[in-house]
């Protein structure tokens, strides 16, 4: 100010100062307006993207539900239907006119068919809600899955739960189980892995489940890409289930570049303890 005073005189300082202050304030206000507009537009864009993503997930979940229903309908129609019809044939009205040996044989056959049908319906029911999960919890259910896979002889599958004294809520257990099922299914279908290993841990109040396998796999970028595309229904289901469980998933290649690793992180609620 003193320099300006010496150079321009006090009157000019007053004029230049006033003008300068006004320009400064106007400039700042303009900057704030444009900056806020930019921020708001960016937020709107983000919201739009999120809405689109949600739409894709909802569509995937609806499609998945429909496919599941179709599968159950096909199982009932193609397998249980003919079996029951055959049993009905054995137990037809003509049976009373037959001799006793034939009657006994027909009844025996019908019983066999009814047993098969019961088993079939049990299988369908188990695929909807695995009894091991319901009765013994996630640890046993996942052990069951890995044992069944190992039983086939082509892949060595195992699981180990390190810290699962306090179970998750049943709804969360079912969500985790379905996600594991989906991931295992994908590994079996696409990876040509020779081993799958599942480990569980607790960290900072989060339930951590990690799946290792030595086949072909995907990394996080692929997962995000597949989630946005129209393919990869199973992965979209994993995403929607994770959203319900408020969890996170991370697909990565091990540091040794030999294994693929999928890490699921599910926050524990206060009421998870059973």
């Amino acid at each position: 100010m003193f320099l300006l005073h010496a150079l321009l005189g006090i009157s000019s300082v007053m004029f230049v100062g006033t003008l300068g202050m006004l320009v400064l304030v106007i400039g700042l206000v303009v900057f704030i307006i444009f900056h806020q507009r930019k921020v708001l537009r960016y937020q709107m864009q983000l919201q739009q993207m999120e809405q689109e993503q949600q739409k894709v997930l909802i569509n995937a979940s609806v499609r998945f539900q429909e496919e599941e229903r179709q599968r159950i309908a096909a199982d009932l129609h193609d397998d249980a239907g003919p079996l029951l019809a055959t049993a009905r044939l054995y137990l037809s009205e003509n049976l009373v006119n037959q001799d006793k040996a034939t009657q006994l044989q027909a009844i025996f056959q019908a019983r066999q068919i009814l047993d098969d049908t019961i088993q079939l319906i049990r299988n369908i029911s188990h695929s909807l809600m695995p009894p091991t999960l319901k009765n013994f919890g996630l640890e046993s259910a996942i052990n069951d899955v890995t044992q069944k896979i190992s039983g086939s002889g082509s892949i060595n599958a195992s699981s180990r739960f390190h810290d699962y004294k306090d179970r998750l809520k049943p709804e969360k257990e079912l969500l985790v189980y379905r996600m594991v099922q989906e991931l295992m299914n994908n590994i079996l279908k696409h990876s040509s892995a020779s081993f799958i290993h599942i480990t569980q841990n607790m960290h900072a109040g989060c339930f951590i489940l990690r799946i290792h396998h030595d086949g072909r796999g995907i990394i996080q970028a692929d997962f995000i890409k597949l989630n946005k595309s129209n393919v990869g229904l199973g992965l979209k289901n994993i995403s929607s289930r994770l959203r319900v469980a408020q969890g996170k998933i991370h697909f990565e290649k091990d540091t040794s570049e030999t294994y693929y690793k999928v890490t699921m992180e599910i926050p524990r609620d206060e009421l998870d303890e059973s």
């Binding site: 100062g17 006033t18 202050m21 206000v29 307006i33 806020q36 921020v39």
Partner: protein
């Protein structure tokens, strides 16, 4: 600068103050629901009374000049500081504002008591401007960083703040240098302060209309009831 032009600006300043007060009285029901806006209108009323007192009271006698200018600076500062405090969200900053405002009031009282200034209380005005600038920029920064659903200029607070900023920025150098220049030079620029008052009042009026529009909108959206058969 002739006295006619100067008088015209004083007249415009008083008229714009009174128009705003009348506007506030017309929409008193809506304005009374927004205390910060009511305070701004009270500042306009205070300004018009202050100008009228200045026109009729002889300020050259004894310490009336110090009291007159000193009280205006303090009251104006308190009106503006209250408006910003009422709208700022950050609690820490609210506390900072309250403490600095109290400190400023104490300083100003002491300054008016100790110092005899020639024309205006340049130092308190300079400090007032710096403080209000600081508060206003903190408010604007906060508004740009919090998540918002509307553009900043769609809120009445923005227009009021801009009015305050432009008025203080434009008059800063005139007030600060007022005691260092001769009367004729000051008179050449003094009309600008009144012009800036008018500009401030125009922006306040824009703010009031934005508020009334918002009020109407929120009321109409509240009146929509779901059809429950």
């Amino acid at each position: 600068m002739s006295n006619t032009v100067e008088d015209l600006f004083i007249l415009l300043r008083i008229s714009s103050d009174i128009i705003l007060v009348i506007l506030g009285l017309i929409f008193i029901k809506r304005v009374s629901k927004q205390t910060d806006l009511a305070v701004i209108l009270a500042s306009c009323l205070f300004d018009s009374i202050y100008i009228l007192i200045g026109e009729f009271v002889d300020l050259t006698k004894s310490s009336s000049s110090e009291l007159y200018f000193g009280s205006f600076t303090v009251v104006e500062f308190l009106f503006f500081a209250y408006f910003i405090a009422a709208n700022i969200l950050n609690k820490r900053f609210k506390w900072f504002l309250v403490i600095t405002a109290i400190a400023f009031v104490i300083f100003n009282l002491a300054y008016s008591y100790i110092t005899n200034f020639r024309i205006v209380d340049s130092v308190p005005i300079g400090i007032e401007t710096i403080f209000i600038f600081l508060y206003a920029f903190c408010y604007l920064f906060e508004q740009t960083s919090v998540e918002l659903e509307t553009f900043i200029y769609q809120r009445f607070q923005f227009w009021i703040i801009i009015g305050i900023l432009l008025y203080l920025a434009g008059s800063f150098f005139i007030y600060v240098l007022a005691n260092q220049v001769d009367r004729e030079t000051l008179d050449d620029y003094w009309f600008l302060t009144n012009g800036l008052f008018v500009l401030k009042n125009i922006l306040f009026a824009v703010g009031i209309f934005v508020y009334l529009k918002q009020f109407k909108k929120s009321n109409s959206s509240q009146s929509i009831r779901p059809y429950l058969n």
